[in-house]
């Protein structure tokens, strides 16, 4: 089975965020990591490979440092990868990124399955996977929490998460694209031999032009970034100050005598 897993690098959300000129976050202050939802997608891909054979190919788009997350997926067991490294892609919106990744997948000459995380932790838009599926003409399923490939290797039974603890059980023909939700598995940790091997695995670096991606940058985007800012909340909690003991004392007092909930 030829499986593509899409991986994105995101900031660790516990980093200290600083906004520069209403337009971007100060990346020098940020620790980067693999999008958590993508770790589940990598694991799902590896488990399918272990069962059905074949290869797991990682595709990511982003600046040079993104090779760290790709190599992390290699260390988990993925076989090789493609990094689309082009500022013209990075400057585009979801559509530009989806169109470029679609081209990168096309360059593999046919795949059985494409997996991505359900959303990126940074932009939280949950549209890239669905766009890539549509651009490729593939059926898709989002929020997948269970995958069972049929005996024929051509159809899958998947569970799509719904609100309030329900799942839709659906059948879908392959090739297809699935966006993977957390909880589907326990992503493995890279082993030391895995990390050693990962350094030698093949990573093709591609410019947009080399894969034939033509809709680029702001011009190719369908949406336009206006600005970013820290939210101003109309409501803010009453912060109870002092050391742990003092704050705890104030809290218990407030819960008993002010909120009257204890």
């Amino acid at each position: 089975m030829k499986i593509v897993v899409l991986v994105k690098e995101v900031p660790d959300m516990e980093s200290k965020f600083k906004i520069v000129g209403d337009a971007k976050i100060d990346e020098s202050q940020i620790a980067f990591k693999m999008n958590a939802f993508d770790e589940y997608a990598v694991e799902a891909g590896l488990q399918l490979k272990e069962k059905f054979g074949g290869e797991v190919i990682i595709i990511s788009s982003g600046p040079e440092r993104v090779s760290k997350e790709i190599r992390q997926a290699f260390a988990m067991g993925a076989d090789w990868g493609i990094q689309v490294m082009d500022s013209q892609v990075d400057e585009g919106d979801n559509y530009v990124v989806s169109a470029a990744i679609k081209k990168a997948i096309d360059s593999l000459g046919g795949v059985d399955l494409v997996l991505s995380g359900v959303q990126a932790e940074d932009d939280q838009s949950a549209v890239t996977g669905v766009m890539i599926a549509d651009l490729m003409g593939l059926p898709h399923c989002t929020n997948v929490v269970k995958i069972e490939v049929g005996g024929d290797g051509k159809t899958m039974k998947v569970n799509r998460e719904l609100e309030g603890g329900f799942n839709e059980v659906a059948e879908i023909a392959m090739p297809a694209l699935l966006t993977i939700q957390s909880g589907i598995n326990q992503p493995r940790y890279p082993t030391l031999p895995g990390i050693m091997k990962a350094k030698k695995k093949r990573l093709d670096i591609k410019k947009a032009g080399e894969i034939g991606a033509a809709e680029l940058g702001e011009a190719g985007s369908k949406t336009k970034f206006v600005k970013m800012f820290f939210p101003v909340s109309e409501h803010k909690a009453e912060i109870l100050t002092g050391d742990a003991k003092t704050a705890a004392k104030t809290l218990v007092d407030k819960l008993k005598n002010e909120a009257k909930v204890l």
Partner: protein, 317 residues
């Protein structure tokens, strides 16, 4: 006149609250843009279209047996048919499980740009500008859409629900709906368990900040017991197997509304907040002063939960 079109959402024949919220949004956006609010309803008959017409002046109804349950392929075809038949400028879709599943596909099908997961809009010199949460709710971003038509998905709760009252028109729109490539076999409940935390008066919930199973048990479970309440968790805690799924609070878990909800080591991601924002009194304990959970809490303590919770236990005696 150009329409701002809400695509209605239903499960088992019941309209979602998000549909009624988007009726409100469509009216506000239409009025700001000099357009008319309308809705599209896709179902096996026109009963739901008539229902939606109580909330919005104009409803376009696509009727087909294949539309009884939601499906990405059939919904995309139906959106395309309504847009082809009517003068539609904007399409509003809930940022829900179903909405997220097809909104981007529908946007490509009608040649529109999409901005998803929005919570507010404003007009800037005649351009519709959308606000959306990024970076786990720590930063807000504004985007606009360059294409002639647009698709926007809105977060649940971004608008109040429209009240019923009107008697809008229902117009049938013909659409050739093909057999979908993904077929639904059944809908199953996954979170059945021995506890029903939705009935608890006091809930102590722990998040990823509780670090590991033993610590979660030691800190969260014990405080819950001391207070005579139930313990609960955010999703990562359940994913990691530190507690069972029946105790997960949020969009994909339980909705709770206790008298007291203590959230410890929980950042306050919107999917978690969706399940607990109705609590009467919310206490947030988090070491990050910028954690979004402080925007919904009644009382907040900025600090290490491993120091603060034992101190609360000691204070309770």
């Amino acid at each position: 006149m150009a329409r701002i079109l809400v695509v209605a959402e239903q499960r088992s024949g019941k309209l979602s609250d998000a549909t009624l919220e988007l009726c409100k949004a469509a009216k506000a956006i239409a009025s700001a843009m000099g357009a008319a609010p309308a809705a599209a309803v896709f179902y096996k008959d026109d009963s739901l279209a008539k229902e939606v017409a109580k909330y919005i002046p104009e409803v376009f109804s696509v009727v087909d047996a294949k539309l009884e349950a939601y499906n990405a392929d059939t919904y995309t075809e139906a959106v395309k048919a309504v847009v082809a038949a009517q003068d539609v400028k904007g399409v509003l879709i809930p940022h829900s499980y179903d909405g997220v599943d097809y909104a981007a596909k529908a946007a490509l099908a009608i040649g529109a740009g999409i901005v998803s997961n929005c919570n507010k809009f404003e007009m800037q010199g005649g351009t519709l500008v959308l606000n959306r949460n990024t970076y786990n709710g720590k930063i807000q971003e504004q985007r606009s859409i360059k294409t002639d038509k647009f698709v926007v998905t809105f977060e649940k709760g971004a608008f109040d629900k429209e009240a019923a009252g009107g008697a809008g028109s229902v117009t049938a729109v013909a659409a050739a709906i093909s057999a979908p490539r993904r077929t639904t076999k059944e809908i199953v409940a996954m979170m059945a368990g021995s506890v029903d935390i939705s009935q608890a008066k006091i809930i102590v919930a722990g998040g990823r900040g509780t670090k590991e199973k033993d610590k979660y048990n030691d800190i969260i479970v014990n405080l819950a017991k001391k207070l005579g309440g139930e313990y609960a968790a955010s999703r990562p805690v359940v994913d990691a197997g530190w507690t069972d799924a029946a105790r997960q609070v949020g969009q994909s878990g339980k909705t709770v509304a206790p008298v007291l909800y203590i959230a410890a080591g929980i950042s306050g991601a919107i999917q978690h907040v969706a399940g607990m924002k109705g609590s009467q009194c919310i206490v947030a304990i988090n070491k990050d002063p910028e954690a979004p959970v402080f925007n919904i809490a009644t009382y907040g303590i900025v600090g290490d939960l491993f120091e603060v919770i034992p101190a609360i236990m000691a204070e309770l005696g």
